[in-house]
């Protein structure tokens, strides 16, 4: 079993006062709250924080923990509780805390679980009361191609349910889900009855999936529109041309109007996100020049500069 250094988790020293511990916990809880933080392991960090604070805020548990810390650490860095260890403060009896101890680590469970299962305190209550199962939230990232074509995805998430002893445990659940075409970022899907099971014969909760869009190397999405930047040669922009532009999963020919400036947008009706009201594809034209010109081309540019002397591209800047 790994030893959990609760002082390190909270970023405080062993001699920290209760006020310092509280202050540090509050600050880090704001920082790592999974609804606030964008860090990948925010969930894990927030859980560790809650667990560390649960022990260190309580003088009795803190004293026990300090003892364990002193005598339980092994030479190889692993951890064994001292022989005959049993927590006097106990945790599983219920009513001791309002924290959700189902979330805590094996280390916590072994040290402070008091031999009973987590969530045991509510066991009797759960047996007799009918209670609808929890809704479970999950996020699912889709590639743009999947948004266009629809897809079949595997979704994994944890549900809470009671085991034979009435203890609440987290169970990993995996479903194969058919995602329809045309989903937008932030849109939700509901899978009825796929959340946590209900208690006492009550209905299970739902699984609510929030859709995210994975970044695409060429296309970006604005609402229902798909935006793509397409380079054109200076002569194509000046003279007009028919060019091929990519669409998601295909390509189309479009006419670049004569005298196009960099940044000009062309709208391809109905080529955006599919759906009842499909979006458009916006093509942003960008003038690109070759890295190196031939001597002949340079001469032609010089002629061009001479012929277009009157043109001031910086007139808007009053230069």
């Amino acid at each position: 079993m790994d030893f959990k250094d609760y002082y390190a988790v909270l970023g405080v020293s062993e001699s920290a006062s209760p006020e310092e511990i509280k202050k540090s916990y509050r600050k880090l809880a704001r920082k790592y709250h999974p609804d606030v933080s964008k860090e990948d392991n925010a969930d894990e960090k927030f859980k560790d924080l809650g667990e560390a604070y649960e022990v260190l805020k309580d003088p009795e548990k803190r004293a026990e923990y300090d003892q364990l810390r002193k005598y339980g650490a092994q030479a190889d860095g692993s951890f064994q509780p001292p022989p005959g260890w049993q927590s006097a403060s106990g945790f599983g009896g219920g009513g001791y805390t309002d924290a959700d101890s189902r979330q805590f680590s094996d280390f916590f469970e072994q040290m402070f679980g008091g031999g009973q299962g987590p969530g045991q305190g509510a066991g009797g209550f759960r047996q007799t009361v009918r209670m609808r199962g929890e809704d479970v939230h999950a996020r699912l990232a889709l590639f743009l191609e999947e948004v266009f074509n629809g897809s079949e995805k595997q979704v994994s998430f944890a549900v809470h349910e009671a085991d034979e002893q009435g203890r609440v445990i987290a169970r990993q659940k995996t479903l194969k889900v058919k995602i329809p075409a045309g989903m937008r970022e932030g849109q939700h899907l509901r899978l009825k009855g796929q959340g946590s099971p209900g208690y006492g014969g009550a209905a299970p909760g739902d699984l609510l999936i929030e859709i995210e869009l994975a970044p695409h190397p060429s296309f970006s999405v604005e609402g229902r529109d798909v935006v793509v930047t397409v380079p054109v040669a200076p002569w194509e922009a000046a003279l007009g041309a028919t060019i091929t532009v990519p669409t998601v999963g295909s390509k189309v020919n479009v006419k670049v109007p004569k005298g196009t400036s960099s940044g000009r947008k062309l709208r391809l009706k109905g080529k955006g996100l599919p759906g009842k009201h499909p979006g458009d594809q916006i093509v942003v034209l960008q003038i690109a020049i070759p890295e190196q010109h031939s001597a002949e081309a340079e001469k032609l540019y010089e002629q061009l500069a001479e012929a277009e002397k009157a043109f001031n591209p910086r007139s808007k800047l009053h230069l």
Partner: protein
Amino acid sequence: MSDRNSILTVEVMDENGSTFTLHEVCERGECHAEFVIKLVNYGIIAPLEPAAEARQWLFDVAALARLHKARRLQRDLKMNLPGLAMSLELLDEVQDMRREVERLSRQLQQLTDE
């Protein structure tokens, strides 16, 4: 697991998708109606027809997801309602800005690559 082998067809929740009554969101959010009414009064969540009486309110799934989020923040960070309202608004703003920054930096990347 047997779950994994069967493919489930989902219900898309959008403007025309299913809605939840005040009673249903309370049950799902494990909270009292008073709390939901306060969230509505603070503009944290909104029913589809805000003019209607609370008994007739209907909420979409986005409002339900927001209610869950508000409950988590309130429980974990001990926030009061004005703080909750402001935090959720700022979090929305941050999320929009993050997306915008991501989009713009990708565009910029494309421009400088070419």
